[in-house]
């Protein structure tokens, strides 16, 4: 039985909506560059990190939410004024974070299964 809820969103507005719909819940978010129609992301680090992150998802706390957010196309991401960079203060993709806390893993940090597990399980 799956203990957490997985939500898939595209873009900043959908992400914010998904968060506000789930007030009071513990939310983890994974930000990735958009996948093409073959399911491959333009972001090579995101391609590498995803199976590692998914591999640790069994450790997600009961009742938590995992939001998988595709941020947009490469050109949108490269713009330093995009909403993810400006408002959420994301510095790179992939980013895996515990929403509402400073706990996050950025880029190569997402390749380390033990760090991903630590983010999912420690306070």
């Amino acid at each position: 039985m799956v203990l957490y809820e997985e939500v898939n969103v595209h873009g900043y507005d959908e992400f914010c909506q998904a968060v506000s719909d789930r007030k009071g819940k513990e939310i983890f978010a994974y930000f990735s560059g958009n996948k093409d129609d073959k399911g491959k992301s333009w972001c090579p680090d995101c391609v590498k990190a995803e199976p590692i992150v998914r591999g640790e998802m069994s450790h997600l706390p009961e009742g938590s939410v995992f939001i998988y957010c595709q941020v947009g196309e490469r050109a949108y991401w490269k713009d330093p004024n995009n909403e993810f960079k400006k408002t959420l203060k994301l510095s790179g993709v992939p980013t895996l974070l515990r929403y509402g806390t400073p706990q996050k893993l950025v880029e190569e940090e997402c390749f380390k299964a033990d760090l991903v597990k630590m983010l999912f399980t420690e306070d």
């Binding site: 806390t101 400073p102 706990q103 996050k104 893993l105 940090e109 380390k112 033990d114 760090l115 630590m118 420690e122």
Partner: protein
């Protein structure tokens, strides 16, 4: 007891602060199997925090950020003289500042956690006690026990603020530096009891953000620092708006029906009793080492009867051969983050058998981040006189005016420099004292100079950067001995 030669870890460090983290990470990098235990006993008011120790959570970091908040308030006032049009009055919101500071500290807690994991240091959120010289008992918050064995044990548990023992109401109604940085609401009108750098720095930023602040001093300010400089620091604070109650000791703290705190004190010079009401009382009357609950007596680790700190050798060793102690709990050691970090790293190298280099605790530069900052390296004037005799030293000094103070019409009466040198021989610089803006930044380079044995002639032969306040250090030429006016005039 573990079988001989087989311990769980090569090294267990008790304490995850500046020293403990540096030591454990370095040891792991050198191939040792390391665990670090960190546990924060909540303050009397219930405040607690994450990994990183005093500096990160309730010391240097939040202090400097709040000091910066206060300086910005002064800068905003100055800005108008420089042409900035600021409509209306400028006020400070404590919650905005506190939330930003607290979030930054939490990101540091996480950063340290990631680093430990990355460097393969086992992190345990347990309160560690010594069972025997190779065994540690770790207790979790829930009371669960874990036993670890280690070849070497390092104690780096730091210190916590003291409460006065003889003032009724002190614990129930007062807070300490453990609490001030984590308050969600403004402390309001505050009485700071104490005159250490902790007291003065806190009183300084509280005044700077617009709060009615009083400092209550039992005897002298900044004990251990050059007293002439300490006087100038407090003179500036008084002119800046901090109230001082000198030669006074609190006798009781009571909570009134209004919710305010009534503090009664005695002026020890006049013998008169006074009282006033405050929203908060901040005790900054010293820190005590976290050595009482370590089980040191059981294992034979000797502590100083006077201070409670662990008696250590030059290599940070305790009276028990495989147990070491450093950082704030080491007897006679400076209570500073950079010395703890460096000592921790050198200790790790020695324990891994890679080097025999000892920590050099001499000529460590420090800065007191009061509203007008005081940076110093080397000896105080009194200490220099004690070691070399009054006739054996030459004291060069100058009152200067930072250029930025001119247009903003700020009072620079306490902006002062003192360079203490040996009078004979090559006139080696023994101590350097700077009171002025950005003292920490100004002084860092000069600490290198002292490390290299810089002399007064070398100082005067070095061309200053213009226009800065730091250049006044290169130009200092009036001696105290001459009795001439040390005020710098013009370019």
């Amino acid at each position: 007891m573990s079988p001989i030669g087989k311990h769980d870890y090569d090294l267990v460090v008790i304490g995850g602060g500046s020293g403990g983290l540096a030591c454990s990470k370095e040891a792991a990098q050198l191939g040792q199997k390391v665990a670090v235990l960190d546990y924060v006993e909540p303050s009397a008011k219930g405040t607690k925090w994450g990994l990183g120790g005093t500096c990160v959570n309730v010391g240097c970091i939040p202090k400097k950020l709040m000091h910066q908040a206060a300086l910005l308030g002064t800068a905003v006032k100055d800005a108008q003289k420089y042409g900035w049009q600021i409509s209306g009055t400028v006020s400070h919101d404590w919650s905005t500042m506190a939330e930003a500071v607290q979030n930054y500290v939490k990101s540091l807690n996480w950063g340290h956690r990631v680093q430990l994991q990355d460097k393969k240091v086992t992190y345990l959120n347990l309160k560690g006690t010594l069972v025997d010289k190779h065994t540690i008992r770790g207790l979790s918050k829930a009371g669960k026990e874990t036993i670890l064995t280690a070849k070497n044990i390092v104690l780096a548990t730091g210190g916590r603020p003291k409460y006065p023992s003889n003032v009724p109401g002190a614990v129930e109604h007062g807070i300490t530096s453990d609490d001030i940085f984590w308050l969600k609401k403004s402390p309001g009108k505050t009485l700071v009891v104490g005159a250490s750098y902790v007291a003065l720095e806190c009183a300084g930023f509280l005044t700077g953000i617009g709060l009615n602040t009083t400092v209550m001093v039992r005897s002298i300010a900044l004990r251990g620092f050059d007293q002439q400089m300490a006087g100038l620091v407090t003179d500036y604070m008084e002119s800046y708006g901090t109230r001082f109650e000198w030669k006074s000791v609190p006798t009781r703290v009571e909570r009134l029906s209004s919710g305010a705190l009534k503090v009664t004190w005695t002026n020890t010079q006049t013998g008169c009793e006074h009282s006033d009401t405050f929203d908060s009382v901040l005790w900054a009357v010293g820190r005590s080492p976290e050595t009482k609950a370590l089980g040191l007596d059981k294992v034979g680790v000797q502590i100083s009867k006077e201070t409670g700190k662990v008696i250590v050798g030059a290599d940070e060793s305790s009276s028990v051969p495989n147990i070491y102690a450093f950082g704030d709990i080491g007897e006679g050691r400076p209570e500073l983050t950079p010395t703890a970090i460096k000592a921790g790293r050198l200790l790790a190298h020695r324990l891994a058998g890679r080097s025999s280099e000892l920590m050099n605790y001499d000529n460590v530069a420090t800065t007191v981040f009061t509203p007008l900052e005081y940076g110093c390296v080397g000896l105080s004037e009194v200490e220099a006189e004690r070691r070399h005799g009054k006739d054996g030293i030459e004291v060069y000094h100058a009152f200067y005016k930072p250029l930025e103070f001119t247009v903003s019409q700020r009072d620079s009466s306490q902006c002062y420099i003192k360079v203490i040198c040996e009078r004979e021989g090559n006139q080696k610089i023994l101590g350097l004292h700077f009171l002025g803006p950005n003292a920490g930044e100004v002084l860092q380079g000069f600490s290198l100079a002292l490390q290299c044995g810089a002399t007064y002639p070398q100082l005067t032969r070095t061309v200053g950067i213009h226009p800065t306040s730091a250049e006044e250090l290169m130009k200092v030429n009036i001696t105290k001995r001459s009795g001439l006016d040390p005020t710098v005039t013009g370019c």
